[in-house]
Symmetry: C2
């Protein structure tokens, strides 16, 4: 089997945050699969072929990429952020598990990237400085009840929570419902970070207490970080505040 498949995380969308490893894999590939806005960020040459697709066709896109790799091409599947975090690596693995045996023999490489919560955290201070979790708010692929169960478990146990896919036109109410649920568990003053397009030209950061957090503070490009009861905010004159989770926990047992 001569074909090759690289699943590449290009980071938050700022070229300075794309690793040399990702850059080299992009330069080497002949065919590119991915959501069109991610492919638009690449600086491809005339012999490199784009196969752009809609954001919601992950499994079909994974199968098409695997078929092309099996035909001998050098294929790249491109995600923003990290390819393994709510992105294409899991879809490709799923396609391999249920696809022809020859796909298992392909030369497959997964190349990590800076995922959104890390980029947002770095712009806001150190909100992920102690135990944390990442939850996708999309209920396209799992029941909403399971999302509520996970939010409840994580907030109750003192995890900081990074919310991916917080809101979209097709999913307008989920973030509001999640904030409402969290208001029943966490103190009203818990810091919430809305980090949009961190590290890019159109970056927008906001830090608000949970009692003032509203779902219209987020859009599709936002990662929302829900603090824990221990999260601290440091005010700075003339500069944005710093938010951080102390390394030391004095949280008493329940």
């Amino acid at each position: 089997m001569s074909g090759r498949l690289a699943i590449i995380g290009t980071g938050p969308g700022n070229a300075a945050q794309t690793t040399p490893q990702a850059r080299a894999a992009i330069a080497a590939a002949t065919d590119f699969f991915g959501y069109a806005p991610y492919l638009d960020r690449l600086d491809l040459n005339d012999r490199q072929v784009r196969h752009a697709s809609d954001n919601r066709e992950e499994l079909a896109r994974a199968r098409a990429a695997l078929e092309m790799a099996a035909s001998g091409r050098n294929v790249a599947v491109v995600s923003g952020g990290d390819a393994g975090v709510f992105a294409m690596a899991a879809a490709v693995c799923e396609a391999i598990e249920h696809g022809p045996m020859e796909w298992r023999a392909l030369d497959l490489e997964i190349i990590p990237g800076i995922t959104a919560m890390l980029a947002v955290a770095a712009r806001g201070g150190a909100p992920l400085g102690h135990d944390f979790c990442a939850i996708s708010l999309s209920d396209n692929l799992k029941p909403w009840e399971l999302i509520e169960e996970r939010l409840t478990a994580a907030a109750g146990a003192g995890f900081v929570i990074a919310l991916y896919n917080p809101i979209s036109r097709a999913r307008p109410w989920q973030l509001g419902r999640a904030l409402e649920l969290l208001r029943g568990i966490l103190p009203a003053s818990t810091p919430i970070v809305f980090g949009r397009a961190a590290g890019r030209a159109d970056e927008r950061m906001a830090i608000v207490p949970l009692e003032n957090a509203r779902s219209d503070m987020a859009d599709m490009a936002t990662c929302v970080i829900i603090g824990s009861p221990e999260t601290r905010v440091i005010e700075r004159a003339g500069l944005p505040p710093l938010v951080y989770a102390p390394r030391f926990s004095e949280r008493p047992e329940k």
Copy 2:
């Protein structure tokens, strides 16, 4: 205030996984604070000064770096992986909160990096492909009971769990105890990934079912990823298996 402080995550330790942003900040700094093995990875010139320290002196190191930045130097605090994940960014924020007001006026930049769980996940497949959490197993800074509470909450709610700081000479029993606890919650067949030094020359990856997982499979350089009951393993003839968390969850309600 003319001084500058950059808190830099250099990634897993493979130069191809250090971002151009981190590289540029390293080139610009005059003074470097960090755990000696991380400083050893940098390619410094004769005018760049190393202030290496022990791994456990995070707060003292943060204060020394802030003092030097306040004196007008261009200071870098260097972490492996991401500086905001169980690393120096939180210690620097803590020092700023409790330090002199002038430290709040410093030009502070935090530069994200590829954190260990992303590097390990990429080498193993897509084990972080759905909701997951990161827990430090170190009970130096929080009570062990809180770690058990978080492991129980996370495993019970179906999160994949990345364990940082799983074991050390000073903390020999914690990982074994955690695995024992998890065996009471998760199926015996749940895949466990032991990822040591992912992406480096001395990388060592192992995937074992929970029933066979032992604490001596990890060392200080290992990130352990505990699958969820939904995590899948794909066997490949002549190649390492792929581990992934399906994007789709059919998990029934309790």
